[in-house]
Symmetry: C2
Subunit: 536 residues, 2 copies
Amino acid sequence: MPVSRREVLVGSVACGAATLARAAEMPAEVERWGIWEASFEGPATGNPFDDVRIAAILEGPGKRLRVPGFYDGDGIYRIRFSPPEQGRWRWMTDSNAAALHGRSGSFEATAPSKGNRGPVRVTPDGYHFAYADGTPFRQIGTTSYSWALQSDAKCAETLATLKASPFNKMRMCVFPNVPAVATDPFVRTGPGLKDWDPARFDPAYFRRFEDRIRRLGEIGIEADVILYHPYDPKRGYSDMQRADDERYIRYVAARFGAFRNVWWSMANEYDLVPTKTTADWDHLFQLLQAADPHDRLRSIHQFDVYYDARRPWITHASIQNNSAVLDDLRAALHRDFALKPVIFDEVAYEGNFNEPWGWLKAEELVERFWYGLVGGTYVGHSETWEPNRDARFSWLGQGGRLTGTSAPRLAFLRRIMEEGPTPGFEPIQAWWNHHVAGKPYEYYLRYFGKDTPREWPVVLPSGTGTGHGNTPPDRGKDPIALRADIIDTWAMTITPVDGVFRMSPRGDYELHDPARPTIWLPDKPYLAVRLVKTQG
Amino acid sequence: MPVSRREVLVGSVACGAATLARAAEMPAEVERWGIWEASFEGPATGNPFDDVRIAAILEGPGKRLRVPGFYDGDGIYRIRFSPPEQGRWRWMTDSNAAALHGRSGSFEATAPSKGNRGPVRVTPDGYHFAYADGTPFRQIGTTSYSWALQSDAKCAETLATLKASPFNKMRMCVFPNVPAVATDPFVRTGPGLKDWDPARFDPAYFRRFEDRIRRLGEIGIEADVILYHPYDPKRGYSDMQRADDERYIRYVAARFGAFRNVWWSMANEYDLVPTKTTADWDHLFQLLQAADPHDRLRSIHQFDVYYDARRPWITHASIQNNSAVLDDLRAALHRDFALKPVIFDEVAYEGNFNEPWGWLKAEELVERFWYGLVGGTYVGHSETWEPNRDARFSWLGQGGRLTGTSAPRLAFLRRIMEEGPTPGFEPIQAWWNHHVAGKPYEYYLRYFGKDTPREWPVVLPSGTGTGHGNTPPDRGKDPIALRADIIDTWAMTITPVDGVFRMSPRGDYELHDPARPTIWLPDKPYLAVRLVKTQG
């Protein structure tokens, strides 16, 4: 979804005599969920990253927020704010530098332009996502760790690939993990890999990164920004001391947090970072939460040990587990543990790598997405296809082109999702071993994976209970009429089943149609059946 | 396992002139993990439950503990202590009542007698249980909520049933939930169900209950004591005010905690108690932990919403979920979330009740135990068989006799467990979708449930990784020789497979024997295969 040119408004307020004149030139309006940015000239000596603090107090309709700013080099300080409400916003700066303190002004947050649906939030039911305007966000993610750190040409190729793809979320690392053009987030102090100063960011590195975030936003893709990873101990960006970590977290929060498509992923495979304990991660999350007035989504991705997704600073579980999404009920259990939305961000990848995490067939990857859907969860893609079987240079590492065959099937899946219940698919009576999802009495989806039953008994749970729970189905609901489609998830075909299923109670807990007890299925794997309420 | 008569030693120390004389008569020794009990005469006026505090400071080999006492009525106060170490223990009382303050003495904790293996603890690996002497505790639990509140004759029948059964843990409520002989833990104040004084316990009620705990101990059964439940709102014992709950928790901790077979289950279906929030349960757990110097195992059992088993005061997850144990990998995920041992204490019951939670066939209940085992977890039994289909009067409600057919199969299962790896069965490469448990390169167990494959490909993961984890199998381990048994878990037969499987690598991640690629199985459900290392 293209973002209006108008929505990012940049005002520049110089210190000294010219201040009021330049301030008066600042744009008077920005659209809701766009970015209001004010820039100020301030101290350039010493270490501005440590010596100077700047923030703005923003007062708007029913809200008062403190928004930290950041130093962008060359004596320029910036404050970025994405207004969560339409209306008048007044601002005033607070700084320990006299030149930056007490500046003030106001602007109007106007109605969002077409395609601006606001940031993605967790839905009130607790297990799905929607844009701030209420549109469901049907997560079909992908990962390309260091795509944003590649050349502009390579990045343009990646963006073109994404634009033609079904993906609406990209997992991407701030720090490089494979060969990249941009490798130095911090100012270098010598020739060695570890010769860098954690107290001095290189603004150009972050400017490049946020340009990638912005471009993703322009094509409607969420940027799941991974702050740490364990893959580069030689440079050691993920092995900083606590005070340096805190400076870094504050910097990215102030710099990136106003982009409405930003999500925070604290780390990839956090439990493989040897220099940080769970207590350290907890601390950094609390710091991030406090440093981010935009309150973007927050998660963390694990290798072996699931992080406790019930922690209050976690908005959704980000899970790596490839066998948990080979059964919808295994997937659904993750909701019962997290009590939050669940994204299986890593379920092994389509490709030709020589280890199990990177050698899935496309069929196997697509299968995981479908089981995840029926489990009421979301799944993520990536691919490792590479001529020399070197995953570093694949889509997973650097982006570029997709050469696998799963993406079109995921586009088909996304269509099925978008035609389904809102805000998402709920497992129906999962704790009683039913394998259907949707919305009781309106929509039922069953997926067969590799199984090839010749006929499927059309027996549905009679209850209205969804999600987790021991509550057995309700008794005595009214009969319903359903029409059915046989979905070939691999061939991407939808074949209507003739006629109507008039479902009535069978015993206390089930619905069936005595006249049409089964649906015959073609002898193929990867089929699904959906049943949708009809007036028939 | 019978408990030596000598191990429960009761000393009575009266106040006043006779004190020293009687103290001198106190037994000079008690065996380790037995109960040292001192009784004192003290104030009987006012409300001793609220007015009088008594505790003893115990000093023994390398340990110093504060052990709260309790009022047992008729002016008698008791302190119970189970010495965790052999050796000399010195004690001194601390009380706000002069008559109870400053009493002191000492005793010798001697070697445990035969059959006294100490309390059950979580094993160092984190996922299993063992007695304090190191003997693995292979949990085969059952539930009879109000058995302890029935007549002595009925209780004797229950105990005789248990003695002949495979069960080694009994879940039992302090408060009645079905018709019972004992219904009044608190002093009654009038004729109505709610006419009772939460500030005054009826010692006789608790004396009866602890007699049941003691008798369970005498036959080697752990008492999983359920402190609250939602089933009796008319009496409302689970709906007390916070100060009353605190008094109650302290009382049971002081009174029951010294019995080495006591486990604490904070509540049954905690989330159905409308008068308590999760914050309330958290508080009561912290209180219990502080009030129980014996540090007995602590869990809580849910209806719909899993309690967060990672909370530090939880020693193991107690789970109700009947479909999670229809797949070993679903069961195993609970370990990954809890990072602690998991007991599926309720998986629906064998019986003839008219709702799904109480109408399992014995086959279906036994199946859940086996899947739980392969998932590295433990499962609990109960049955609802009752001539009039009234579960209140079944084993589940009142105890008595078992009439189902699952118990003998669970005895057989326990034998298989005891012949297996210590401290328990670990899932092997579960995150890579392998369905085997045991101990890598020594013991593998595969269970087929209702499936009836005619032949099973003997392909095992080559790795040594157990439990949760994305780590793929190790490469290049030495070949091993395994012998195999086909286990009919229902018929309770073990049929050796002739010869030896000489397992060698197939690719990087699997073991097989090219000469013997499969095992042929009889055309029956509920089979298992175990493969055990042999020198052959």
